[in-house]
Symmetry: C2
Subunit: 427 residues, 2 copies
């Protein structure tokens, strides 16, 4: 065990996933990315990820190789009740131990069957038998308990491959236990969500702030679909109050780029907009052309969205823009469907029709066909309106249909955040 106020040697981990379905491409391995992220957050570095077949000799080979490189080996998959699930028996043989009944695991699996109103089968009962040398890791969401082994100063943990079972086990049990075992220093994280500025421009804008960060606070840029997450990782040196110190850095950053920050913490843009609307008791309606329903879909993807989302009109065809949304034919004829005038009317009219505080609208050419020399594919207008104002904005994208739609949706949601007047925010 190392002292908390001392920077430890780097702890290295390896991940081994077991199962032909990953190798044959039937399943994309998303578990490893989750584990890599979470291990990183407590200061453990993943050195290698190995996916092997449902084959005992191959599993053993991967274990032996991983032990030469890593301090921690996390294994997922192969814990089901059927005969092609080999992980448990392979581990028992590897450690040369027998299996014994774990009462807590039996109680857990019995409970799960009871919940679904079914009798415990013998195959599932056998899932509660675990290698004698392991510390069981409770699985409250499934029938396969995890196993924690300590051998030659190495930690090996076997978990189910079912993502939500593995994630719960990692968060509740495995990560805290690893932190404790290796005496890892306390690590603190702050996430700042930004939108509307590319990674390199953002880096330039905050360079002076980044440079003045103390050595025990590191910054990572994590870009994704037009949004950049900034993650601060602080190592507790025991000298200052880390939480206070990090919050002070976040505050400095907030003053530097207030217009780009839409949330603090791991919050998606639709969630942030939902929170904003709920907080101020505001309602919203959508009028969509080129996004075809995606804006409404993102807003309703959040539980409890009926508190602020009344509804929307997908006016794909111009006749629907006129007849359902009441856009004037003159506007459509003079300016075209993809114009500031049309998109503004769409937003204003849907707000009035659905009697909401806010109306938002999209109209553009998502592609891959439908462009003209004056309005090429990717030309998109978005609008926001409330009782006081209407704001319209032109976007130009040069992506696939899907990405053009995604970016437009992100932008119109961001426009809500940017346009909401201070007076409104009081609710």
């Amino acid at each position: 065990m190392q002292k908390l106020n001392q920077t430890p040697n780097i702890v290295l981990a390896e991940i081994i996933t077991i199962g032909d379905e990953i190798l044959y491409g039937q399943v994309v391995d998303t578990n490893s990315a989750f584990m890599g992220t979470e291990l990183g957050k407590i200061g453990i570095k993943v050195k290698q990820i190995t996916s092997v077949s449902d084959d005992a000799a191959h599993i053993v080979q991967a274990l032996d190789a991983a032990r030469t490189r890593a301090d921690v080996i996390l294994i997922t998959g192969g814990l089901g009740p059927t005969k092609d699930d080999l992980t448990k028996t392979t581990l028992a043989a590897y450690f040369n131990v027998g299996l014994k009944l774990d009462e807590q695991s039996l109680a857990d699996v019995t409970e799960i069957f009871k919940k679904y109103g079914r009798e415990l089968t013998e195959l599932n009962r056998q899932q509660a038998f675990l290698p004698e040398n392991c510390l069981p890791v409770r699985n409250i969401l499934g029938t396969a308990p995890g196993m924690w082994f300590e051998v030659d100063n190495k930690i090996m943990v076997s978990m189910p491959g079912v993502p939500f079972e593995m994630k719960t086990m990692m968060t509740d049990i495995v990560l805290p236990r690893l932190q404790q075992h290796f005496g890892l220093p306390k690590i603190n994280h702050k996430v700042i969500m930004t939108i509307g500025i590319g990674e390199s421009f953002l880096a330039e804008k905050i360079a002076s702030w980044e440079d003045q960060l103390p050595p025990h606070i590191k910054l990572a840029y994590l870009p994704k679909l037009g949004s950049v997450r900034l993650r601060l990782t602080g190592l507790d040196t025991g000298t200052d109050d880390l939480e206070t110190e990090m919050q002070a850095e976040v505050d400095k950053l907030s003053e530097l780029i207030p217009e780009y920050i839409f949330a603090y913490g791991e919050v998606s843009l639709p969630e942030a907009i939902s929170n904003l609307l709920k907080e101020h008791y505001l309602t919203i309606a959508t009028a969509e052309s080129c996004t075809g329903g995606m804006v409404a879909q993102k807003l309703t993807s959040i539980p409890g969205s009926s508190a602020y989302f009344k509804g929307g009109i997908v006016a794909y065809d111009n006749a629907v823009k006129v007849e359902q949304l009441g856009v004037s034919e003159a506007t459509l004829e003079t300016f075209g469907a993809v114009s500031e005038e049309t998109v503004s009317e769409m937003a204003q009219n849907v707000r009035q029709l659905l009697k909401t505080d806010i109306g938002i609208a999209t109209s553009g050419i998502a592609g891959p066909i439908g462009g003209t020399p004056e309005k090429p594919v990717g030309t998109i207008w978005i609008a926001y309106t409330d009782a006081h104002q209407t704001v319209a904005k032109k976007l130009n994208f040069n992506r696939t249909r899907e990405l053009n739609m995604e970016f437009t949706t992100m932008n119109v949601l961001n426009l809500v955040r940017q346009s909401l007047p201070e007076a409104f925010r009081i609710g």
Copy 2:
């Protein structure tokens, strides 16, 4: 080289991905699943997938280990122009060869820069220098050419990690060359897309057909989100016309389960519905409550959807159901929003309002809150209507909000396929 009419030994492959971003969980490795699937289709089995760090010694260790197990090693990543991209120099050192300029690669990278109106930088010019012992693999979509090595009867191919560059290289060059190199027998695939029946029930229903398949035609079940893909893989034995033989098997299957098949080939349900509507010159409108715009979004995700999709109304709030969709208040009061009566009116009214051939509607409780004892979370009504009929269907799901919405969307699209009258199909 083996004769085509002889079953060859199994060719084994390994995939090595290079790059810290996968290990640290910043990127999910989707490349490997693509490669596993495509290799499987030409009869090559993936034995292991290894993700290693941007570190020369670690890359070499992985290469050495892979060579003890596999005939083919496919490497992705680490081919960018910056100094942390180590793959090319590591491979040259591994094979103890120098780099030489490949004129075709230089022409390709110059062309790419020209397309974006930029001058070729020295860093990018260096990307056209390749290990002397490699056969270049053209990259028409990016600046890093691939490399094909043949050493000790093993094939090693290095490709960029950018998914669309790698996929194009695999499909156009690497897979055909592997087929030729190993004299792999011709393999034929037929995909049959089913929906509305679970994997185990489907397996039971088609067991007798599956059992009578000749040994050189294999069946795989590939379930995904309520749909099961059936993939037939036929090995050309040189005795019969494989294409004719396989089509005959597909025809037999079609007679056995016509109601569950929505397409032949890799076609998504929204695509299949789009094709059906376009083929018969039919138009459609959507009225959505619990799916919140997802049905419209899926329909408009298909390029050219303006040919059949006029628009939709997302009637999340009951007031919108009454005022925009014209659902009678009496219906809502008597039967509730989640009822056969309401969902039928929604479909009928949106069809009339938007003047389309078909109207579809959804109304239900997506969760996680909003359920009652009589109508628990997951209780959902869907409806289809045309000039001749209205069909409504009750669904019960017990999933997350997101999955309840996804399954409802799949089901209402499937209802179009199931309900479309023969008379209509003539167009």
